[in-house]
Symmetry: C2
Subunit: 466 residues, 2 copies
């Protein structure tokens, strides 16, 4: 890999897009650079589980030819993208990192994969994840991705490879999925941007489900602008997914302005800033980010969400209850095909009663109402994305998610859009994420604030040395 | 009771309202007529469980005084109404016909009871119901109401007294509640109008729940116009009930026009007209009603709702699952306080798994989508309300509801507005009901069709001889 190739891998999507549109950069050259870098780096990072080098180069050649013939498809034209291995890819093994699906080869692309291809995107390959979007890093069909900031540390999950690939410069953006924080958590631990859109904003057709009422598809990228571009491509109605909303899709890049004046950011400190729960360095870094927001002209205001402390429990019951329903037959017929973590966690679903589930739903309604009320007075909610920075593989407990509160799951309960944006590092050089969550379908305001903060803080200028 | 008093009890609400507004009829005289008729007839019908004679007369006197002082509140001014005994009434025992609540006296009126009083309504008393809106007619705190068309026959449930009181001329209208058909079923078996509004159209604050996501409050009356008037009074937003919609409340009586030309009525014959399930005389009477609709200018068209056959099962799992959640503590601590039917039916909820519940919800979403799609091509759905006419007390099996399909429950799943309107009698003189169901919040179209049919068929001219 040449220095020039490495530089190409560190371009933002609009930087690369401008070069491609003006014929200064060939999509083939760009794709080759990524394939070379994957070759050089991914033996250490372990982001990719299935590399699609041949088809990627073919797509890049098509993209190149189209530009040369004056047919430029837009900002994703010729941009290399990676997919969490639960997005169906026509003719390419899609496993959700489970032995149950070890030999599964879909005959159709997922709707969003088709949208990426239609927009000129180049699919580099399928990346690692936690088994069935639920397991820990230990028990999976493939090796697990490693954190590019320190390879002894985990990436978080479940979109582990999607985060690692972006952080290590092994793609220009990736798709993850998020049922309790699986986009935002690894984004924060890997120092990248992770965006969970509003529930219903992005089709889930052709995406292996964990929990129908909590699953969200979304982009993971190096910058907020990159995320806005990817979201614009994948958002929108889908006749084959009845949960996909018909609400019109705005131009998300138009919303990016370096101005947050007049906006109010609500902070439920009573829950998200408890020093007995959250790491002290994480708290310090996130508090500094809020101070920076104020300096930029936003108002920061305390808000109270009384039922927030129950949100994680409600999410666990609903997520596991629905996940168990989906996997029940396989759990009974081929339990040995599941990793221990996933088998144990999913099997909890058999023990939850209908009354547990109904109470979880009632809590969900209440939490949704409380956030809706808070959002009448503030434009966004802000908090740390994760309680800690990335643990080492040696320290991680795959069942810990059952015992600790989640700062991301409340926004799966409410369906609000939420984004994790890098906001600094701890003393060991591990990244910290700031989470912003907005009103349903008001991704523009959320993206604008995240963009303004990112342009000011410029954490994106620091890259991991992997 | 004089003949004149009996005539007063058979007035429609607008007939009585015009006489009251023009000072030709005193609300006190009207209320006394009903109290006399209850005295004379209700020992046989058993509609009332708690008569509120003193407060009713006091309210009637207030209503009389207001008219004399030129303060006429509108079409419910001075009109005597009965309440199913699960509507909270300030200072008056409210039991849901259960020994668990035998001594329960609410300190506040339910929201809709307050609305009735604010509109000048006179509350005559609380009427019988099936225990906790779920039990059969056999096991209850009070005796069960009897069918005014034949006292050996049941009224159906759970709004048994609400139906019997209207049919026997013991009130001008009543409120029932409907979780799987508890308004529409007894309305059809007692030859009256029963209206389940759109989910969220009417506040449920202060109404003892069975199942939060399926419960509906609504009016039961002698005519469609009476129902439109009552719905107009009780509908609307309620800050104390977050499920009550803020959608504006139209003038439902304005919607009543004797014209159905240009409207299309969809009939899912594949499910609702199966001669192996539905009584032949019921089918004949309902088919004749559809022919009459066509004669009046409506188009009748076959529609297909593929998942309809699963709707009753989904409703049972959700209704019982939520009901068990609500009653769990009492079922454990004082099982002897429940009647056997309710105890057995609710206890099923302990056996349903979370997976059963999740699958029921998925079915619910699918059924909702299928009806929404059908309603793009038709204005209303029509079908028989009940499979049979009223059984005798000797023949009724309290657990039969678990085994037979319900023609009303699908519209609790979808939340669509639905009405049962009398459409004839079987050879034993027992009434048959036609069910019409419309688009969410489009009660006006549903009322207009029901009104047109009722004005043409004039079944309301025949009264039971009780």
């Amino acid at each position: 890999m040449t220095d020039k190739q490495q530089d190409l891998c560190y371009l933002s999507i609009p930087q690369a897009g401008r070069l491609i549109a003006s014929r200064q950069l060939s999509p083939v050259e760009l794709t080759r650079a990524f394939l070379e870098r994957i070759q050089a780096v991914d033996q250490r990072v372990k982001a990719y589980v299935t590399l699609m080098a041949d088809s990627a180069l073919a797509e890049a050649r098509t993209a190149e030819g189209e530009v040369l013939h004056g047919r430029y498809r837009g900002p994703l034209h010729g941009i290399p993208i990676a997919l969490k291995d639960l997005y169906d890819t026509r003719g390419v093994r899609t496993t959700a990192q489970s032995r149950v699906l070890e030999r599964r080869v879909p005959s159709e692309d997922a709707t969003v994969v088709r949208k990426l291809r239609d927009a000129g995107g180049v699919i580099l390959g399928k990346v690692a994840m936690h088994e069935f979007a639920l397991g820990g890093p230990a028990t999976s069909l493939f090796e697990q991705a490693r954190n590019p900031w320190n390879l002894d540390h985990v990436t978080g999950g479940s979109s582990s490879g999607s985060a690692a690939a972006v952080a290590a410069g092994l793609c220009m953006g990736s798709l993850g999925s998020d049922t309790g924080g699986s986009i935002r958590g690894p984004a924060s631990l890997c120092g990248i941007v992770g965006l969970k859109p509003t529930y219903g904003r992005v089709s889930r057709q052709g995406v292996i489900p964990l929990s129908w009422s909590l699953d969200h598809c979304g982009p993971m990228t190096w910058t907020v602008e990159d995320a806005a571009i990817l979201l614009g491509v994948i958002a929108g109605a889908d006749p084959s997914d009845p949960t996909a909303s018909n609400a019109p899709v705005p131009d998300y890049t138009q919303a990016l302005r370096e101005d947050v004046k007049g906006l109010t950011i609500g902070v439920p400190r009573h829950y998200f800033f408890n020093p007995e729960v959250v790491d002290a360095q994480v708290l310090g870094v996130v508090e500094a980010a809020l101070t920076e927001m104020e300096r930029l002209g936003a108002r920061v205001q305390e808000v109270t969400i009384p039922s927030l402390e129950h949100a994680s429990a409600a999410n666990t019951v609903m997520m596991i209850g629905q996940g168990y329903t989906y996997h029940r037959k396989d759990l009974i017929n081929q339990p040995q095909s599941f990793g221990e973590t996933v088998r144990l966690r999913l099997s909890m679903g058999a023990l939850f009663t209908t009354a547990d589930y109904v109470q979880a739903q009632r809590l969900r309604s209440r939490i949704r109402r409380e956030f809706a009320q808070a959002l009448q007075g503030v434009d966004l909610i802000a908090c740390p994305t994760s309680l800690n920075t990335a643990a080492t593989f040696a320290d991680v407990d795959p069942l810990i998610a059952v015992r600790t509160p989640s700062f991301t799951a409340p926004f799966n309960q409410t369906g609000m859009p939420a984004i994790s944006v890098p906001c600094g590092f701890n003393s060991d050089g591990l990244p910290v994420g700031l989470q912003l969550a907005g009103r349903p379908f008001d991704e523009p305001t959320m993206l604008r604030v995240a963009y303004t903060y990112q342009q000011s803080s410029r954490w994106y200028e620091k890259r991991p040395g992997v």
